[in-house]
């Protein structure tokens, strides 16, 4: 009897290894290390510590530096120069004493000899448009970059500094001890670039018709680099793609511009009475209580009158911003200005738009409402927006974010007409850039190292917001039923993930070194999170974990691991396999049906069973009479009557059921009689839950979701049995296209051939 149980255990595990090992092998297989897809990420993650815990929360010794700025700025519109003098107060909350400070000089990426200009390869152009050729080979490079007048201590003593490309080291007379603060001053100026012709995140657009410029100014002042427990000094140079790593602090900024300019900036405007006309001020006050629609503070007509005047006078706009990681501003006499009040939790926030008349009629209609929708949706999924306002500024070709303010594209034609493409592009970019207030302006990840941490999370939230915008502003999307989001739906990432491997990088790559930042740092992580939410974790568990992460790291500096750990910590869902596959590799999802076999309960052992038994010198008669035999439909030796209830084929089974009448009703028709063995194949490297629709002859359908863990012990294929009293006629894997399966030609049984776009189109025009 012992022996029989022994043999039987092989049958249960379906493993015939022991049998095959009876014949000696010519060569012993080499060993291997743990390369299981479900292996925990101990090797990829750094050890948790007192700064950052294993749960993904800030630890008991977590610290971050505080950097406060007082700045006097002057914009010289005539000569397109910006002048500044700033006092920086650096508070060292780290346990370390600092001998020097690193300061970011981002404008230096536009120095004539900046290495960033030569960072890319690329040969001669055999064919090249004339203006591109002229600017490439004949133009003098733009004379940009910071001119540092001086760096001084607060008492006026010059400090020694060394500039290395976009980073400046200031050597301190004595080290800043842990817990101490240090103040010093920098005076600087630079030539402002045209951001349209010389594509950049910041600069001016020139309007030849009226001779005006609209400025959107950012990365414009020497800013402290981040010092923390992960990087030490984050002084990785600014090469153009990897964005910013910045400290929180308080800002007091006095900004002097031509008197007829309208300005928006990070922070609260402290002197509206001084810089606005009486009428503007009246409307400005009125807007503070307008919750139903925006109030126009400066109208298009007023702007048109101003455009030709070019005031020689100056005005100083004064701003105070607390707990922000940066400061940016927009200034022009061309700006139309509208705003409305939005209720966010218990607080009032101003949703604001600033645009030249070239943006109308689109901007007047949609910008401020898109800002309001963003504050509403993001606050629901993360935390209540903590700042007093969110501003959307229209700048050609721009899509760039700063605390409380961002630049956005989307411009109608000169006759005021615009396509749906332009409209949805504009609404989407506003949602995206305003949404960046949450990631990374408040949940302050290191963009220089990890582009996806803000872009991916923001693009994911953008998708949710766009869908809510579509529900709330139905007239804006007519005749569509849902907002046409470009990113987020799983099937939209398929072309990228199935692309040439040599052109794809894992998400966990530095933004400078990836091939296409758009799909890599925006679309793929956003889609991954969407799949996590809708398919892997479920909305409730995901939303709670995502909110936990947002709240834990609000006004702090998280790393990828803090995100990964928190999502598991708050949900009890092991996700190491998901992070490993989607974030650390370029693997893709491809799961399909390989084979389907129908089994019935049979009176005799199948040849397969006979074979195993005979290998042990046994026959079926040696088995105890308490086993059920099953044989495949294709098994010719099966002589059982096919029409009979197959339970009757097995005497031991029938007897067992009869002996346990309280558990089983033998006469009930619902007991399964058909047993389908389905083999799922997985040509793709990513493991995923298997979502299957089983479709039966009577027209009914059964949805089954096998947990991702089915792939633990066999990464290539897995068999499952469907026990049913119905007849199976078809199987569909991932029927709703929820997993970004890159090849759905193997998703159906029996195989279905889907018509190509070409064939569909040809049929359409024929019909």
């Amino acid at each position: 009897m012992k022996k029989i149980i022994y043999v039987f255990s092989f049958l249960i595990t379906g493993s015939f290894n022991l049998l095959s090992q009876e014949t000696p092998e010519s060569k012993r297989e080499p060993g291997h290390t743990n390369n299981n897809k479900f292996k925990q990420l101990y090797e990829e993650f750094s050890s948790p510590n007192r700064y950052r815990t294993a749960s993904g929360a800030p630890g008991s010794d977590y610290y971050q530096q505080q950097v406060d700025y007082i700045m006097d700025l002057e914009l010289d519109d005539k000569n397109t120069k910006l002048y500044g003098e700033e006092t920086i107060t650096y508070t060292n909350n780290s346990p370390d004493n600092l001998d020097y400070l690193w300061i970011q000089l981002d404008q230096n990426i536009r120095k004539k000899d900046a290495p960033a200009l030569e960072k890319n390869g690329g040969g001669a152009d055999p064919l090249i448009p004339v203006e591109v050729f002229a600017s490439k080979y004949f133009d003098e490079p733009f004379d940009g970059g910071f001119n540092i007048n001086w760096v001084k201590s607060s008492s006026g003593i010059p400090l020694k500094y060394t500039i290395n490309n976009t980073m400046m080291r200031v050597d301190l007379p004595s080290s800043i001890k842990s817990g101490e603060s240090y103040s010093f001053k920098i005076k600087w100026w630079y030539n402002i670039n045209n951001h349209v012709t010389n594509r950049a995140r910041s600069g001016y657009e020139f309007f030849p018709k009226d001779g005006n410029r609209a400025y959107v100014i950012a990365q414009f002042f020497p800013r402290l680099a981040v010092y923390n427990d992960v990087e030490g000094w984050q002084n990785y140079q600014f090469w153009g793609n990897g964005e910013f790593a910045l400290n929180f602090g308080n800002y007091e900024v006095n900004l002097t511009v031509p008197a007829d300019h309208i300005v928006e900036a990070t922070g609260d405007l402290k002197n509206p009475r001084e810089v606005l006309t009486n009428q503007e001020y009246k409307r400005y006050k009125q807007a503070q209580n307008s919750f139903d629609k925006p109030v126009i503070i400066v109208t298009e007509q007023e702007v048109i009158e101003k455009e030709s005047k070019f005031s020689e006078k100056k005005k100083t706009w004064k701003y105070i911003a607390n707990n922000v990681r940066d400061f940016a501003f927009a200034s022009s006499r061309k700006f139309i200005w509208d705003m409305m009040a939005v209720k966010v939790g218990p607080k009032k926030v101003m949703a604001v738009s600033l645009y030249p008349k070239e943006g109308n009629p689109l901007w007047e209609e949609y910008s401020t409402v898109a800002v309001a929708q963003t504050l509403d949706t993001y606050s629901k999924y993360t935390f209540n927006y903590p700042y007093p306002k969110a501003v959307s500024v229209h700048a050609k070709n721009q899509g760039m974010e700063y605390p409380m303010i961002c630049w956005n594209y989307g411009r109608p034609d000169e006759d005021g007409k615009y396509s749906d493409r332009v409209k949805f592009g504009m609404i989407s970019v506003i949602i995206h850039e305003v949404g960046h207030n949450y990631f990374p302006m408040i949940v302050n990840s290191d963009e220089r190292q990890w582009g996806w941490m803000d872009e991916g999370l923001d693009t994911f939230m953008q998708y949710l917001t766009e869908q809510e915008f579509g529900q709330n502003y139905k007239e804006a999307i007519v005749p569509l039923e849902k907002y046409p989001s470009r990113r987020g739906d799983p099937e939209k990432i398929v072309p990228y993930m199935s692309g040439f491997q040599k052109n794809i990088s894992p998400i966990m790559s530095n933004p400078e070194n990836v091939f296409q930042l758009g799909p890599n740092a925006y679309a793929k992580p956003a889609t991954a999170l969407n799949i996590l939410r809708e398919t892997v974790m479920g909305k409730e568990l995901f939303d709670h974990a995502f909110k936990t992460y947002s709240k834990r790291w609000m006004f702090k500096h998280p790393t990828p691991e803090d995100f990964f750990r928190t999502m598991e910590d708050a949900s009890a869902v092991d996700l190491d396999w998901f992070w490993r596959g989607w974030f650390y590799s370029t693997d893709y999802v491809d799961i399909g049906v390989k084979e389907v076999k129908k089994y019935r309960i049979s009176s005799k052992p199948s040849p397969e069973v006979d074979k195993i038994l005979s290998a042990y010198g046994m026959t079926a008669n040696d088995l105890a009479p308490n086993y059920v035999f099953m044989s495949s439909d294709t098994d010719e030796s099966n002589s059982d009557n096919e029409s009979s209830n197959s339970i009757n084929n097995s005497t031991p089974l029938k007897k067992y059921l009869e002996e346990n009448p309280e558990d089983y009703d033998l006469n009930k028709n619902s007991l399964p009689k058909n047993f389908y063995e389905i083999e799922f194949e997985k040509p793709g490297g990513l493991v995923m839950p298997i979502i299957v629709d089983y479709i039966f002859k009577d027209g009914t359908k059964k949805r089954v979701e096998y947990p991702v863990q089915v792939w633990r012990k066999n990464d290539d294929s897995v068999k499952k049995v469907l026990a049913t009293n119905k007849e199976l006629v078809a199987i569909k894997v991932d029927p709703d296209l929820k997993t970004a399966d890159i090849d759905i030609s193997n998703n159906s049984w029996p195989k279905e051939k889907s018509a190509s776009d070409f064939e569909k189109f040809k049929n359409k025009i024929k019909g």
Binding site: L127, G240, E433, P495, D743, I744, S756, D757, F761, K762
Partner: protein, 171 residues
């Protein structure tokens, strides 16, 4: 030849089309087109070209500044410029003769323009040669992908400005 990659398993959805518009990036636009060339039934060749509307509009407006795509300002003129351009830039040679393909139509799918062409084979194919120069004259970093498929196998090619031609032997 290193750009020719053989895929054991390539999906019919193997189209390398990405969102080209990158928010927040200094100079980082991504330009790509894909062309699927399928030998189908009855010696027909189906050609589907997918290109970003914005990119293609640059070319159209370079020829005629008043034209706009999606919605089209003048479909006939756009068809005409499109066909002229594609016939110059996408050359397919069967053995030693240039393949003449016929315009079937075009349609928009989200931010992508899909162009359809068809041709009839008149001889047994031994060698097929692709030369794809679509939009190199507008975007220096343009990449063009060609997926070839007949009933026996599939093959994909990645073309760039400096590597725009490739041949395939079919036996």
């Amino acid at each position: 030849m290193d750009l020719i990659i053989f895929f054991k398993k390539i999906s019919i959805f193997f189209t390398l089309m990405f969102s080209q518009l990158i928010n927040n990036i200094d100079v980082h636009d991504y330009y790509v087109s894909t062309t699927e060339v399928n030998f189908s039934y009855n010696n027909h060749i189906q050609i589907t070209i997918k290109v970003f509307i914005d990119d293609f509009e640059e070319m159209i407006q370079d020829n005629n500044n008043n034209l706009k795509l999606a919605p089209d300002s003048d479909s006939k003129k756009i068809d005409q410029i499109t066909n002229q351009y594609i016939s110059e830039k996408l050359k397919i040679k069967i053995n030693n003769s240039q393949l003449k393909y016929e315009f079937i139509g075009r349609e928009y799918k989200s931010d992508i323009l899909q162009l359809y062409y068809e041709a009839v084979l008149t001889e047994k194919v031994q060698v097929i040669t692709f030369e794809n120069n679509i939009l190199y004259d507008y975007f220096k970093n343009q990449q063009n992908i060609v997926h070839f498929k007949n009933d026996k196998f599939r093959r994909s090619f990645l073309f760039t400005k400096n590597n725009s031609k490739s041949s395939l032997s079919i036996n």
